[in-house]
């Protein structure tokens, strides 16, 4: 078997992965770095982020304000030491990106401009028009090209982590172009593969968001944390699930029901004002806005569209100039995909699965409980997002914790020996598994697409905006059956070159594991908090559940859930108050 070796290996080349890779290169230019990604880095899903990235920069704003917004936004499930580090390092990271060429929108005098955002009581969201993720990703990718120590494995699909003596020491990956399966060993591995929105049928997430890193870590024995917390973004376009950024509400957009009424005023989110008010109405947090949509639908006040109920996002009063300068991508997306011009027409929107607050359990330095394994970005759960992430915290998170994970992985690599030969034997086993169970498989009756559709339907019906114990228990049983049926999956493509049937099968298998963890954590958490709303347990229960869920994969493959207390430093749990 071919083997290549590096000091630090990144799985994933999006925002977190590239930031971590640069952090390693800057810390010690002698370290050899591998960035292994199933897509070219600039295709990574960071590219789709629109609205902005939060960091305190303006007079009148404070780190404590940003921390409080984040902690209350997360319904007190955030670890406050992590949040304090996050808000402190955020401005430095954002400035660093400015120095690397990110085209941030500016004030007339040349200083960085900021905009309001949901759940934030000060204006602190930096933006590059409404393509912030795109510009951040390209700035990071292009900057990463400077560093000779970074070797990229573009379009290499990681199928397994290699582990010996309790230490993660590399990966097995498939070079999609040639189909070659090989081991890439490293002294430290950082997972930066993003989220898993594709376990649901209706999502803003790209086709590549299959929970790869979550499943890789989970199978290797790392716990997945707070997986029940799934963020529905309140404003997605019907059918495509394309995101209409929260910035459209921050710039002054209204959400209207079928009567043209700003219905959020009926849901404890404040009183309607002509101009946007911070932490109020349309600038409330995403969980509360998505829940209000469901309630509004139950009252019969949504609009029936061809793809289910919608409400309207009204930007017309903002005028052509604001829309064209601050929200050009929103206009482009509406024109192209809905044949609607937001300057003149209402935009139909509905809640859409957008982000996983949960992920691989890490400490404040990005280290997982498995030695040698680190994680950063959406794949990880530090946790700064708690039970509900605030818009514009995730782009900043991938910079702050990408850097932290990069530095701690580099330090780990400098202190440890190169991987031993034992992991090569494991890699041989993995190669055999891929060949026997997939590439050379001739029997099998189940279709990848049907299993995937059934999984997605199960998830939407059980783990959506409102949940019940009965539905979740049923879903857990259904997912078990889907796991069994996956063993009988039909494989018709036996070629090695760019075999996307193979990758689709492996991705489905990752998603099934992650889906089971989501459902089991949601079933066990018999309270309502943030984005996790149980109609059979409608109250927050700090006595029993001011704690993170940790799902470990049991011997039979099912998730076993334990709890870990939340870290509270200076903000004792309180009621979440908006619109006051």
């Amino acid at each position: 078997m071919d083997v290549s070796s590096h000091d630090v290996l990144l799985v994933g080349g999006g925002g977190a992965g590239l930031r971590a890779a640069i952090a390693v290169a800057e810390l010690n230019p002698k370290l050899s770095i591998a960035v292994v990604s199933k897509v070219y880095p600039m295709r990574s899903h960071t590219v789709s982020a629109e609205g902005g990235a939060a960091a305190v920069i303006k007079a009148g704003d404070t780190l404590d304000d940003h921390a409080y917004d984040t902690i209350s936004g997360g319904d007190w499930l955030t670890d406050q030491d992590a949040v304090e580090a996050f808000v402190k390092e955020a401005p430095v990271e954002m400035l660093q990106l400015e120095h690397w060429g990110c085209p941030w929108s500016r004030e007339p005098d040349g200083h960085i401009a900021v905009r309001p955002f949901g759940g934030m009581k000060k204006e602190r969201t930096w933006f590059a028009a409404d393509k912030t993720g795109f510009h951040m990703l390209h700035a990071l990718f292009q900057t990463s090209l400077k560093y000779g120590a970074i070797t990229r494995y573009d379009e290499w699909f990681v199928s397994r982590l290699l582990q010996d003596d309790g230490r993660v020491q590399g990966v097995v990956a498939i070079d999609l172009m040639s189909g070659r399966i090989q081991a890439i060993t490293a002294k430290a591995v950082i997972l930066c593969t993003g989220g898993c929105g594709r376990v649901f049928p209706f999502t803003t997430n790209a086709n590549i968001k299959n929970g790869d890193g979550m499943a890789l870590a989970y199978r290797a024995g790392a716990p997945l944390k707070d997986m029940e917390f799934v963020q529905y973004h309140p404003t997605g376009l019907p059918f495509t699930g394309i995101l209409i950024t929260e910035a459209s509400r921050a710039e002054g957009g209204f959400l209207l029901n079928k009567d043209g009424y700003r219905y959020l005023q009926d849901y404890d989110l404040g009183k309607p004002q002509p101009k946007p008010v911070l932490r109020s109405m349309e600038l409330g947090p995403r969980d509360r806005l998505s829940q209000a949509f469901v309630k509004e639908h139950e009252k019969g006040r949504t609009i029936q569209g061809p793809y289910g109920p919608v409400v309207h996002l009204d930007l017309r009063h903002l005028g052509e100039k604001v829309i064209n300068t601050k929200l050009p991508f929103v206009r482009e997306l509406c024109l192209k995909y809905e044949n609607i011009d937001p300057i003149k027409e209402l935009i139909p929107v509905r809640p859409v699965v957008h982000y996983m607050m949960g992920g691989v359990h890490t400490d404040i330095n990005g280290a997982t409980p498995l030695r040698g394994l680190f994680a950063a970005g959406e794949v990880a759960c530090v946790s700064i997002n708690g039970a509900n992430r605030l818009g514009s915290n995730s782009l900043t998170e991938l910079l702050v914790f990408g850097t932290r994970a990069g530095k701690s992985a580099a330090a780990f690599a400098l202190e440890h020996e190169a991987p031993n030969g034992h992991v090569i034997a494991q890699a041989e086993d993995e190669k055999r598994r891929l060949e026997e169970q997939f590439l050379r498989k001739t029997a099998g009756r189940e279709s990848i697409a049907s299993l995937r559709t059934e999984m997605q339907k199960t998830m939407e019906e059980s783990a959506g905006i409102y949940r019940t114990g009965a539905r979740l228990a049923e879903a857990a049983a259904t997912l078990r059956k889907l796991q069994e049926r996956f063993q009988d999956v039909a494989m018709s493509d036996h070629s090695r070159t760019f075999n996307t049937e193979l990758t689709a099968a492996l991705e489905l298998s990752f998603m099934l594991d992650v889906a089971e963890a989501i459902v089991q954590c949601a079933l066990n958490r018999t309270e309502s908090r943030g984005s996790h709303q149980r109609t059979d347990f409608p109250k927050r229960d700090d006595g029993a559940f001011l704690a993170h869920s940790l799902a470990l994969q049991g011997k039979d493959g099912t998730p076993q859930v334990q709890y870990l207390p939340v870290t509270i430093t200076r903000w004792p749990p309180a009621e979440r108050v908006y619109g006051k």
Partner: protein, 247 residues
């Protein structure tokens, strides 16, 4: 509207075939469907062995460029209903080696991107503690459009010069070089000019402007190339007339 449409999809599996063939698939036409939805329908329901790249389905990741009826398009932003009654021919992007089916090799572009040094170059880096480099909205506008490139390779598929001479650095890479040259924070334009004028191919561009016409993100690579030629000419005259001056 017709209920179905025929897609003629270029198939090439190098382990089984010596050259590409076309395979016909009958797919439903739905009002909201783009060409990519039709390919996904084929992959899920008809033929799981078809290979192509896609990801964001919102025109920003740059993965899904293909030839649709002989024109380079982002298939996630190209509506199927525009091709009724069909058939629609879907092929890999022109001017690139084909890896398999609709997947092209873009390693050549990745090498070229590296060569134009698409990052901020400065003689001296200002410490982060001194804050941001000031940049007015007007200064931002000077390079903004060149920063919108999504590396989708559609301009290379449309470029007649790249088609004839693969050594040509090409539209997107030159536009990205220009994105940094025109950024008020950058001081690397001379370095990039030296790299770009090393090869004659830039002079091969006859300003047909196909790249600008096909760009789905309204970048103007043709404009960037003309600006470059002008800069390079000025530099050449300077070195010819004033060979003793420090460049």
């Amino acid at each position: 509207m017709a209920e179905t449409i025929t897609l003629e999809v270029s198939r090439y599996r190098p382990e089984q075939e010596t050259e590409p063939t076309y395979q016909k698939y009958e797919v439903p036409v739905r009002k909201d469907w783009v060409v990519l939805d039709a390919l996904n329908h084929i992959k899920d329901k008809i033929d799981t062995s078809l290979s192509y790249r896609w990801s964001c389905r919102m025109g920003v990741c740059g993965s899904c460029g293909m030839m649709v009826n002989n024109e380079p398009k982002l298939t996630c932003a190209t509506f199927l209903s525009d091709y009724v009654p069909g058939p629609v021919r879907v092929e890999p992007l022109r001017n690139f080696p084909v890896v398999r089916d609709l997947v092209i090799a873009m390693t050549d572009f990745m090498d070229k991107l590296l060569r134009v040094k698409p990052w901020i170059i400065r003689d001296q880096e200002k410490p982060l503690s001194e804050g941001e480099y000031l940049q007015t909205p007007e200064e931002l506008d000077a390079y903004k459009q060149f920063s919108m490139c999504i590396n989708c390779m559609i301009c290379y598929a449309a470029c007649p010069v790249y088609g004839l001479d693969p050594h040509f650095v090409g539209p997107a890479a030159i536009a990205l070089a220009q994105r940094y040259n025109r950024d008020s924070r950058d001081q690397g334009s001379q370095e990039r000019l030296d790299i770009l004028s090393q090869h004659d191919a830039i002079w091969g561009c006859t300003f047909v402007g196909e790249c600008t016409k096909v760009c789905p993100k309204h970048v103007d690579p043709a404009g960037a190339i003309q600006q470059y030629k002008l800069e390079a000419t000025k530099e050449w005259f300077k070195s010819f007339l004033l060979p003793w001056s420090a460049r």
